[in-house]
Amino acid sequence: MAATEVVMAGFGGQGMLMAGKVLAEAAMAQGLEVSWLPSYGPEMRGGTANVTVAISKLPIASPLVTHPHALLVMNLPSLEKFGPMVKPGGVIVVNRTLVKKDPERADCTVVHVDARELATDAGNARAANFVMLGAYVGASGIVPPEAVEGAIEAEFTGGKAKFVPVNIAAFRAGLAEGRQVEASS
């Protein structure tokens, strides 16, 4: 099996690198090979940031990919940059709160989620990154949801442990959206 590659992109500070780390941790806990490759240009809060997570049963050759199997985008610049690169048959999760444009990829499964609204309902607008991750996991079944929730618990410890419930609630809200799309496609 070749690797499944996921590009997760947004403004710096929106937490896509963190969501990517949680996805990588969840896959690793399933005994899979993973790599997490961030963009590390002169990024700053408000600038663009992205991460490529590769997941595979076999050792991962290139951590860098041109045509990912999935794309999670928090903002328009990220959709414009990476949208055309997704492999046909791939999954694109779009944050409808900020991206009003359709990816125009009839050959992909597109999931639109109101990431900020769902995160706010879950208890904190800043958990929008986990709504996005939930939508992807729901639509793709890439890893079991329990593995992601376990990775969230492992990631937020000590003083940050208080964020676990809201992050998991946000993840589940996204998961439900993603599953609906998977069921209808």
């Binding site: 070749a2 780390k21 990588a24 941790e25 690793m28 090979e33 993973v34 790599s35 997490w36 490759l37 961030p38 590390y40 240009g41 002169p42 991962i60 050759a61 290139s62 951590p63 860098l64 990919v65 041109t66 045509h67």
Partner: protein, 361 residues
């Protein structure tokens, strides 16, 4: 031991501690700053010394002192910072002191940029300071290999009393991968020896010095160093061959570090198209595995091409040409400035070469 997901830079720092190194002197620079960031937290926990120097020139001279005092020591930097260490490295090699230097390469020349590059290959294997000296240079292609090679680096530094450089690019420094540390806790310190400056009370004094004004004595020291580098070349060459299934192949790719991994993906894709392509990856950049590289070329089908791919304008390519001994032309594909060739771009270049050959033949 369970695997943990770690950034390359942090894993390098932890590996140093596992190797028994608890003395770090360094100065921040992107994309390696997570090495000192990690060690500044970890070293006090193991009773170690973390010192942020005022510059890379100071860092390497602190390493000179610490190594002379007989402790395992580490410094870390990225390309422009390594250039500043050139003088110190020459002195440390001249005095035959063990130490490990990490270079997380970024784009150059000059201040260049902070994105990944492999354009310090020549500096690492040929250049840096003045005089007839060499570094042992190890080039990991994954976070796990970065850890394994750090442990090896401290071993080789002590065995040969020579600076060892672990040479990776910004991508390996910044990416996270699962990693397993083969040793628990903290490894052994440097063994008892007859050269470290540990206080001369009750014994003959020792001198660490590289000034030999008598030409014959200087020449003798140079011959001693040369004999050591030859011994290293005999014993320590490491490489990997990937793909090809042992059959005569259509093309051989030569690449190291991150670039080699990208080439592996290209090779996998090309295999589905029926193209037989293999990869030769030097793991020790110095000593370079010339004989093994030549052997991989000799195993190719008669008109097969050799393609060297690197994230530079062409540096490793000179060693590949030396390995070929004029037996065949070496093609080159490279990028610089922080542009990393994708598997698709490498595959396209390979197709072009194989097809080109078919048209000619």
């Amino acid at each position: 031991m369970t695997k943990v997901l770690m950034k390359g830079n942090e894993a390098l720092g932890e590996a140093a501690i596992r190797a028994g190194c608890v003395h770090f002197f360094g100065y921040p620079i992107t994309p390696q700053t997570e090495v000192p960031e990690y060690l500044v937290k970890r070293l006090p926990e193991v009773g170690g010394v973390f010192l942020q120097a005022e510059s890379e020139v100071a860092s390497i001279n602190m390493i000179y002192g610490a190594a002379g005092a007989g402790v395992k020591c580490l410094t870390s930097s990225s390309s422009p910072g390594i250039s500043l260490m050139a003088e110190g490295l020459s002195y440390i090699a001249a005095c035959e002191l063990p130490c490990v230097v990490i270079n997380i390469m970024r784009a150059g020349p000059g201040l260049g940029g902070i994105l990944p590059a492999q354009s310090d290959y020549s500096q690492a294997t040929r250049g840096h300071g003045h005089g007839d000296y060499e570094l042992i240079v190890l080039a990991p292609a994954s976070v796990q290999e970065a850890v394994d090679l750090m442990l090896l680096a401290f071993e080789l530094a002590e065995r040969y009393r020579n600076p060892v450089m672990v040479c990776a690019d910004g991508m390996i420094g910044q990416m996270m991968e699962p990693v397993e540390f083969p040793t628990e806790g903290r490894g052994a310190p440097l063994q008892e020896n007859d050269w470290a400056l540990t206080g001369a009370e009750g014994r003959e004094r020792r001198i660490v010095n590289s000034l030999y004004l008598t030409p014959e004595i200087n020449f003798a020291q140079n011959k001693k160093l040369k004999a050591k580098y030859e011994e290293v070349a005999r014993n320590e060459q490491r490489w990997e061959i990937y793909g090809g299934d042992g059959e005569p192949n259509d093309l051989l790719v030569v690449a190291f570090g991150t670039m080699a991994r990208i080439c592996k993906s290209a090779i996998d894709d090309l295999q589905h198209e029926g193209l037989k392509v293999s990869l030769f990856r030097p793991i020790t950049l110095n000593p370079f595995p010339y004989a093994a590289c030549k052997e991989a070329m000799d195993a190719l089908s008669p008109n097969a091409r050799v393609l060297n791919v690197e994230m530079s304008m062409g540096q490793l390519v000179y060693d590949v040409k030396l390995a070929a001994e004029g037996s065949r032309p070496i093609e080159f594909y490279g990028t610089a400035g922080g542009i990393v060739p994708s598997p698709d771009e490498v595959a396209a270049r390979v197709r072009e070469l194989v097809r080109g050959k078919a048209e000619v033949g």
